[in-house]
């Protein structure tokens, strides 16, 4: 599949911009962010709370083999259906400070839409550290797989 997600991380800048165009009308794109059940499906996480309103809060929890591996929470600062969501994002039990996220939903045509996600970090160093995290996770997953293969051989 063609890689359509673009990421802009300017050097010495404490923000990150993620953009993506979807073959979906903006209403459906927004629905995927609004409906807790759908969020759970594509984010691969359990949605504990999602209050879609100004001053509402949210919380996600991801488990693996019955153990909580990842949890995050935040406050929704602004919520305008089919237009924007402004929220904070904080990983629990991690040294990462809270991030500020601006999500903008744009209608391109009747069947296509665009999402722009601007994430602002406390510092450039924290941004760069976060960028490395999926890589670290990837390594862990590869390690887990190796472990599984090895234990299968025993």
């Amino acid at each position: 599949m063609e890689r359509k997600t673009k990421i802009r991380a300017e050097e010495n800048c404490q923000e990150l911009i993620i953009t993506r165009e979807f073959d979906l009308p903006v209403e459906l794109l927004f629905k995927a962010y609004e409906d807790p059940e759908i969020v759970a499906q594509w984010m691969g996480t359990k949605v504990i709370q999602l209050e879609n309103r100004k001053h509402g809060s949210w919380r996600f929890e991801t488990s693996h083999n019955g153990q909580v591996m990842f949890s995050a929470n935040g406050v929704i600062l602004d919520f305008v259906p089919e237009q924007k969501i402004t929220r904070t994002f904080e990983m629990e039990n991690s040294p990462f400070p809270v991030q500020l996220e601006f999500l903008e939903f744009e209608k391109l045509t009747a069947d296509t839409s665009k999402l722009t996600m601007q994430i602002i970090f406390k510092s450039v160093a924290f941004r760069n550290q976060l960028l490395q995290m999926p890589f670290a996770n990837g390594l862990n997953m590869a390690h887990d797989r190796l472990q599984a293969i090895l234990s299968g051989l025993q």
């Binding site: 599949m1 890689r3 359509k4 997600t5 673009k6 990421i7 991380a9 993620i18 993506r20 979807f22 073959d23 979906l24 009308p25 459906l28 794109l29 629905k31 995927a32 759908i38 499906q41 594509w42 984010m43 691969g44 999402l115 450039v124 160093a125 760069n128 550290q129 976060l130 960028l131 490395q132 995290m133 999926p134 890589f135 670290a136 990837g138 390594l139």
Partner: protein, 106 residues
Amino acid sequence: MNLRRDVFQAIADPTRRAILTLVATQAMTAGAIAANFDTARPTVSKHLQILTECELLQPSQTGREIHYHLNARKMKEIADFIEPFRNMWDDRFNKLESIMKKYKTK
């Protein structure tokens, strides 16, 4: 993984980035590098040590002198570092798209 984190700490410092820029075109001795900065020589040595430890610089001995080269392979790794993060979001968004396409036809 620790090594990777160190690499980013290494390039977070402006003096160290300036050093990398200096040696990008030619290998240089510690003295020649230090001559480009107002900072004390031991400070520059410390920077060189950090850059060498995380393999951004490669020292090579020629006679009594040590020249520092830029490790291009390591620098490329840094350029690529955003790729796994992008892939993660791309996978999520692809999933979102396919879920919502089915949702539409429901």
